[in-house]
Structure formats: C-alpha cells, structure tokens
C-alpha cells in the first residue's frame, strides 16, 4: 500500500533562464485533498504539468502513485486523471463520444467502458446531455464533463488545475460539492491548484502556499490561520498615529501591530470584544478613528503574512513581471 500518493523533492523547472518552479518539496498522502494556493504565475500549473508528465523536469525528483515521473511516464499516466485549466474537449464530438475516446485511449474494454461512462455521467449529472455536441455545453457543463472524464479509468490521483476558474458562484458551489464527494466516497487523492482562497479554505485538508515558484508555507488551513495569532482589526486613524501606536503596543492582549496600506492593523483574539475599548481610548490619545474593520483570519492574511503582499496585490503588481513570464513561456511552449 503506497503511503504517499505524491512525493516531490527539490523539483525545479526553468524556461530559457527563467525559474518557474524553484526547488519545491512536499508529499501528499493517499486519499488526501491537497491544495496549491498562489497567485497567477506562481508556478502552480507548471508543477502540475511536471507531475502529470506533460513537461519534463529541469531537476529534482517527483513520484506519483509510487512511480518516478521521469522514468515510466506511461505508468504514471495510467494512474492519474487531470482536468486542465483550459477546456481540453473536442467540441465537434458529443459528451459521450469525448468520454468514449478517453476510455479507449486508456485501453478499457467495451463493456466496462460503457458501464463506467454511465457511472461518471450520473456522478456529474450530465446523463441527459450525453448526446449533445460539446460546443453547445455551458462552461460549467464542460468542466463537469472533464471531471467525469478524468475519473473514467479510476485514477489513484486526480489533478484539478483551477477547477472553478471563470464559473459563476452557483456552479462553483456544485463543483466544490462534487470534489468533496469524490474525495470522500471514491477515496481519490485530489491535488487542486487555485488562486481562490475561499476554495482552498473550504476544500483542502492541507494547503501549500506557493509564490514565485517557491512554497512559502504548508499546513492545514486552520494551522495556517493560527500562525496569524487571531483576528485582525484595522483602524483608519488620523492624528498622532505614533502616540496611538505606542499605546496600542503596550496593551498585553495585542499580539501584533503593523501599518499596511495606510491603516493600523492589529492582531488579537476576539476582535469584536476589543473594538469598543480601542475606539473609546482613541480621543484621549489625540487621534480620530475614521473607520474600523474586523477580519477573522483568512488565507488572504496568511498569504500577506508570508509574502508581504495579498494575492490580489501580487497579481496586480505583476504587470511587468507577469507579462515577461508570459513572453518567455510563449517562446518556450503554448501558454500554461
């Protein structure tokens, strides 16, 4: 019985001198629902592409379902299913035909194939649409069909690259439920990549936070948030901010105080109970509090804590960097 569904050691990928994945290491247990969380361009898709044998590694070691990805690629492929970031369906074939194609390419016998296709179609509730050409499917339906397809050959590991990207909120919820159901009922190890924090928080048992090709943190969502030490109360302050800061730092229930984006952000437990005291004391310190916000710890804050930027800021600041990376990628191969 393989304990680790995936084992990665110092995995690296370079494109024309640009390091997309920088010596990352992690392991995923059998049956785990594991997440790679990070902004666009962090190296998530590249990592998935290496683990699924679509890209050759530059250096390092990776093992999927007990098989070295650089040695027996076909053995790895038999054990994995993957749903890519962009749709990889044949629009001119029907839903069922796409699944038949997959089943045959994976060497399934006709009878078993037919039965299995019926099963997966029922799982994603597309049975009544199986005879429709995929070009007529909505975005959500295509994604569900691809999830169904990834499961036909009963993979040990399923890779989901940004599974709900571009979908509306309701479809997203449905897909989250499928993913959870899959993991619980079928016991499939699932690796998902995402830049949506609430998705990683809701679905994943453990999350690796990845930024600029490196893993900056790896733990359960709860433990990651515990690192922050508690709730974050942000105050928009005008007046003698330095004096107020001094006062705040003297309070023993304040765990952390820093300035971010022109606001004073304080970490504490049960922020909702402490706000009245902070606000009432302010005039005595010579400051006027213009606004208060309370945030329960989220992965956004965790990301901020570990990288100094929020995921949104990371992506926004990428205008020069991100485009450079895209250009290098375009010269190397087709997109992500």
């Amino acid at each position: 019985m393989i304990m680790n569904a995936i084992k990665v050691e110092n995995l690296t990928k370079k494109f024309n001198g640009f390091t997309a994945v920088d010596s990352i290491s992690f392991a995923v247990e059998s049956g785990e629902l594991f997440g790679l969380l990070g902004p666009n361009g962090a190296g998530k898709t590249t990592t998935i592409n290496m683990l699924s044998t679509l890209l050759k590694t530059t250096s390092g070691y990776a093992e999927v379902a007990g098989v070295d990805v650089s040695k027996s690629t076909n053995d790895v492929r038999k054990s994995i299913g993957i749903v890519f970031q962009e749709p990889a369906l044949d629009n001119k074939l029907t839903g069922r035909e796409n699944l038949e194609f997959h089943g045959m390419m994976y060497g399934m016998a006709a009878g078993e194939r037919r039965k299995r296709i019926d099963e997966v179609l029922a799982l994603v509730e597309l049975t009544d649409k199986e005879g429709m050409l995929v070009e007529k499917y909505s975005g959500g339906m295509k994604r569900r069909l691809e999830i169904a397809r990834g499961l036909i050959h009963r993979p040990k590991v399923l890779f989901l690259d940004e599974p709900t990207l571009g979908l509306d909120a309701q479809t997203r919820r449905h897909i989250w439920e499928y993913i959870k159901k899959l993991n619980k009922e079928a016991g499939v190890t699932i690796i998902l990549t995402t830049h949506y924090m609430e998705e990683a928080d809701y679905l994943c048992e453990r999350i690796a936070i990845i930024d600029h090709g490196k893993i900056v943190a790896l733990d359960t969502p709860k433990k990651l948030k515990d690192v922050l030490g508690g709730d974050v109360v942000c105050l928009d302050v005008e007046g003698d901010a330095a004096k107020y800061m001094q006062y705040v730092k003297s309070l023993k229930w304040i765990k952390n105080a820093k300035i971010h984006d022109g606001e004073l952000c304080l970490t504490m437990d049960q922020g909702e109970k402490r706000i009245p005291e902070l606000v009432c004391k302010a005039p005595k310190m010579g400051v006027n509090i213009r606004s208060v916000s309370l945030r329960k710890p989220s992965l956004e804050d965790v990301f901020l804590h570990f990288t100094g930027k929020t995921i949104r800021e990371q992506e926004a600041g990428q205008n020069g960097f991100g485009r450079e990376m895209m250009r290098i990628r375009a010269g190397r191969g087709h997109g992500m």
Partner: protein, 254 residues
C-alpha cells in the same frame, strides 16, 4: 509498443469530425472540380505536346487535379495538430498512456482515409462525366498512388505542426510550400518544357511522382516509368512519415 486501440480511436475521431463538417467535404470536392471545369473548358481542344498527339488536356489534367486536392487535404490533416494544440485537445491526447508513434499513426490513418475518400470521389465524378479508365486493376494502382501521396504530405504537415506554435505561420506555408509543390508537380502541364533548374525542383517534389504514377495507371501517358514513380514515392513517403513522427515526438504538449 504500437497501440492498435489508440490508432483506431484516433482514426474514428477524425472520421466523425470529417462526416460532421459538411462544408469541409464540399470544399474539398468543389475546388478541384471547379479547377477541372474551368481549366478544361479554357484549354479545350488543346493537345498535350510530347504526348504523341494523343492525349487531350482534360484527360491529362484529371490526375493532376486529384493530386492537387489531395496535397491540400493531406497537408491540412498533418497541420491540424496545431488546431488541437490551440483548442487544448492535444493535451488530452498526449496525457494518455499511449506512445507517440501510435498517436502519429492514428493521425496518418485518419488523414489518409479522408484524402483517399476525396481522391476517389473526384475520380468517380470524372468518370461520370466521361473520363474512361482502362480497368479495375488500373483503378487499384491509382488508389495506391493516392495513398502514398496522402501519407507523404500528412508527414510533411506534421513536421511543420511540430515546429510551429500556432496557426499564424500557416499563410507562409500555403504560399511558399504548398503552392510551389502544386505548380511544379506537373499537375497542370508537362514538365518537359521547363528550364533545367525548375525541373530539378520538380524532381524532388513527391507530388510529381504521385501524379505521374496516377497518369501512368489511368491514361497510359507519363514522364517516368510507373515502377520508378512507385519506388521513389514509396521512399519519400517513408522518409516523411519518419520525420513527422520524429519531430512530433520531440515537441512539447504544452
């Protein structure tokens, strides 16, 4: 290991897509037939020089038109890998536990069937409007040459597709590869009158031998001996298929 199952399903996919694309079927018949009609009418009454005064132009032209149609269809079939890359389906193909050689053979099987259907249909239509062929044996010989033309140019298409990133360069290929291959193949006129240096290019054009072979089979008039045509085309076909498979194997799926 060659995976027969995979070759079959890749072939099946091409066939389904082919049957469903009505406009493509019409296009692949319409262009050659329009060419035939207008060139034939324009040159009606013209006899082919160097033919011993026996072959009229339309008769001479028909194998050339078949070759032309198949050249375009086959090149496109090979290059269609780029469509799959563009629309993402190539990843699904490449992620399967199937070796690259089988994938190439599957694409060749699909493309060759498509081109062969086109070639035979054009020939049948020509026969309906009066083109006479010597017999079934000769028909079969012509089909063999059609098959070799198809596999050769699908291979060439694959070479290009493996080196290109997307369909942007297709225009260049049309103008600087496909059209020269067509015009210098003897499809429209005999090669005898061409200056030496141009003729040299024709001699390395696989289509020259394919069309000449069809002419030898169907109308008994050709520049080379039919055995020569067959051997040369067979060799070129093998080389092209090998190169196509080689470069495809080397290319990245993402």
């Amino acid at each position: 290991m060659i995976n027969a199952n995979a070759i079959y399903v890749l072939w099946l996919r091409e066939m389904k897509r082919f049957i469903r694309a009505k406009s493509r079927i019409i296009g692949m018949l319409a262009m050659p037939l329009l060419f035939l009609a207008f060139m034939g009418m324009g040159f009606s009454g013209v006899s082919i020089p160097g033919a011993g005064g026996g072959v009229n132009y339309i008769t001479f032209l028909i194998p050339g038109i078949i070759g032309m149609g198949m050249l375009f269809t086959s090149m496109f079939a090979g290059i269609s890998v780029l469509w799959d890359r563009e629309f993402g389906f190539l990843k699904e193909i490449m992620i399967a536990p199937v070796n690259r050689v089988s994938i190439v053979l599957g694409r060749i099987a699909g493309g060759a069937t498509t081109a062969l259907i086109q070639g035979i249909l054009i020939l049948l239509i020509a026969m309906v409007i009066g083109f006479r062929i010597p017999g079934l044996m000769e028909f079969a010989m012509a089909v063999v040459f059609m098959l070799l033309i198809a596999t050769t140019f699908i291979g060439l298409g694959l070479v290009f597709a493996s080196k290109m990133r997307d369909m942007q360069g297709f225009n260049l290929i049309m103008n600087f590869v496909i059209f020269p291959l067509f015009f210098l193949s003897g499809a429209l006129f005999p090669l005898d009158n061409l200056p030496f240096f141009i003729k040299a290019i024709s001699y390395i054009d696989p289509l020259t031998y394919g069309i000449d072979g069809m002419r030898a089979s169907l109308i008994g008039f050709s520049t080379f001996n039919v055995i020569v045509d067959f051997m040369v085309l067979l060799g070129m076909s093998a080389i092209m298929v090998f190169l196509g498979a080689y470069f495809f194997e080397k290319s990245e799926s993402v």
